[in-house]
């Protein structure tokens, strides 16, 4: 099976900074992947290169099996919704109409119903839209294009909670109806976590974590309770973070916990709380072994039951 997106050794250098440093990822067709990382981590640059809007300094980029830059047969099967998309001086209806001409699978009914859900009025000038409404326009185009590869860069900046929920619901409904490859960058990690089948975490232009989302859910656990019990329980386990408050301690331990370990924790009176995706991402940069740990977890427990 040809990966929908295959990037190998991708580096993008700007004059005084390396935006992407030897990035390699592969995404199968028909999956939703979260692209996570801090501001300036290189997410937008990666997406722009995938969409053929920016050029790599070196490395190999393939979308649907071919290099995307200036490759119209590939570009037509891909849509990229940018947080900072520039729109010409046109109305919402114009933007949707123009988009409908270029995407072979464009669904006008879907565009109309999404616009109605978001409260986007076709007569409104794009430059007069609020930040959130501008995001809604991007989302409408991104979903109605029904493109095989759908790239979203922080698509809901400025959108309220209700509109974000509409986005999640519609994305999943669309995805169920017409599976496609979705790569979505976001800072609202926990909110979007349920969408992701895989996550890729970038930090300072490098991939620090790439794993199946299920594998990640059991990969690290916060163990808290009395200091001595915590020390006892975590001895010999890889520990990633330690906090102490009086007689209580809280330690983040890495690696899946089997049933025996959980029983022992209970008998020691310890609380076990799996790390959320967001917490994982926060620490992923300082923990390069995260990918391997996630893979191990996945291999040991392919059904993700431990989650």
């Amino acid at each position: 099976m040809t990966p929908a997106i295959a990037v190998a050794g991708l580096t993008r250098r700007y004059r005084d900074q390396v935006a992407l440093d030897d990035v390699s990822i592969e995404l199968d067709p028909g999956s939703i992947t979260g692209l996570l990382g801090r501001n300036g981590a290189g997410k937008t640059t990666l997406l722009r290169i995938l969409a053929g809007q920016e050029f790599p300094s070196s490395g190999d980029v393939r979308v649907l099996g071919q290099p995307p830059a200036e490759n119209e047969p590939v570009l037509r099967r891909m849509v990229f919704v940018r947080e900072d998309q520039a729109y010409p001086d046109i109305k919402v209806g114009h933007a949707l109409r123009a988009a409908s001409w270029f995407y072979p699978n464009w669904d006008a009914r879907l565009a109309g119903s999404l616009a109605a859900d978001f409260g986007l009025r076709p007569k409104k000038a794009v430059k007069k839209l609020s930040r959130g409404m501008r995001s809604a326009l991007g989302i409408t185009i991104g979903l109605a294009a029904r493109a095989e590869v759908t790239l979203f860069d922080e698509p809901y900046a400025g959108l309220d909670a209700v509109a974000r929920q509409i986005f999640y619901d519609r994305l999943l409904a669309e995805y169920a109806e017409r599976p496609r490859t979705v790569l979505l960058s976001t800072h609202l990690i926990d909110e979007a976590a349920a969408l992701f089948e895989r996550v890729v975490v970038l930090d300072q232009g490098r991939v620090v974590l790439e794993a199946a989302a299920d594998g990640l859910r059991g990969v690290a656990t916060t163990v808290s309770g009395p200091v001595l019990a915590v020390e006892d329980f975590t001895a010999g386990r890889p520990v990633w973070d330690r906090r102490r408050l009086g007689s209580q301690a809280s330690v983040v331990t890495v690696g899946p916990l089997d049933e025996a370990a959980r029983a022992r924790a209970r008998s020691l009176g310890l609380d076990l709380v799996p790390l959320t995706l967001q917490q994982l991402v926060v620490h992923a940069a300082g923990w390069p072994a995260a990918s391997e740990a996630a893979e191990e977890a996945e291999a040991a427990d392919p059904e993700g039951v431990s989650a």
Binding site: Q53, F80, P88, F102
Partner: protein, 237 residues
């Protein structure tokens, strides 16, 4: 080709700047000039059908300058949105140039038509030369059409190139672009002087007909088109 047409149509999704504003500008400029000519008493003995000296307004340049603006604007924020719709740079450029050519041909034809009316009405009744420009646009209708067509295309394409240079290299780059053009002009001047060639240059231009000049401008337009093509190739958005 069909995607070229889609790109041309994309620019026309908001048709007012391309189809109406041109004529608003020209109508306003025409109105101002005809008001002046109607106010100033005209006792020039020149016969019907000819324009007395100094009665050429030259205001027709407004439409040409507007085409330069349209060209710059056709890149501006239209390029990033266009590319985000899955169009390649190559196609975007070709489609936009196609729009420039078709629009210039149509508007050039309209200018030739207005010129015919101007001749037939003895300069709109006030011996005004608005659509007639001495030497440049003063021949038969088809030459007026051809020269306007080439001139409008040239300025549109030139504007596109400015838009692309600005897109890639920003303000400093655009200033450098202007400086480079001035430098090329200066170099040509110096070369001609060294070669003591001013007499032949003079002969060349005095011997040049409006049709010949149109041909030269067409060559220049093609050169500018090629320059823009090279510039857009690595433009990032």
């Amino acid at each position: 080709m069909s995607t070229w047409i889609k790109v041309a149509r994309y620019h026309l999704v908001q048709p007012i700047p391309y189809l109406l504003v041109t004529w608003w500008i020209l109508a306003f400029s025409f109105g101002v000039n005809i008001a002046i000519y109607a106010l100033v008493p005209n006792s020039d003995p020149a016969g019907a059908g000819s324009v007395p000296d100094g009665h050429y307004t030259g205001a027709l340049c407004s439409i040409f300058l507007y085409f330069l603006v349209l060209g710059v604007n056709s890149i501006g924020r239209w390029l990033p949105f266009g590319l985000s719709l899955g169009v390649s740079r190559r196609t975007y450029y070709a489609g936009t140039a196609l729009l420039a050519v078709v629009l210039s041909a149509a508007d050039g034809l309209a200018l030739a038509g207005f010129q015919a009316i101007e001749r037939a009405t003895n300069g709109w009744g006030v011996q005004m030369g608005f659509f007639r420009v001495p030497y440049l646009l003063d021949g038969p209708w088809y030459l007026t059409w051809l020269s306007s067509f080439v001139g409008l295309t040239l300025l549109f394409v030139y504007g596109m190139w400015y838009g692309l240079v600005y897109r890639r290299w920003g303000l400093i780059g655009t200033i450098a672009f202007v400086a480079a053009q001035v430098t090329v002009g200066l170099a040509a001047t110096v070369l001609v002087s060294w070669a003591h060639g001013w007499t032949s240059v003079h002969h060349f231009f005095t011997g040049l007909t409006a049709a010949g000049l149109t041909g030269l401008l067409a060559v220049l337009a093609v050169a500018l088109l090629a320059g823009g093509q090279v510039t857009i190739r690595r433009a990032a958005i």
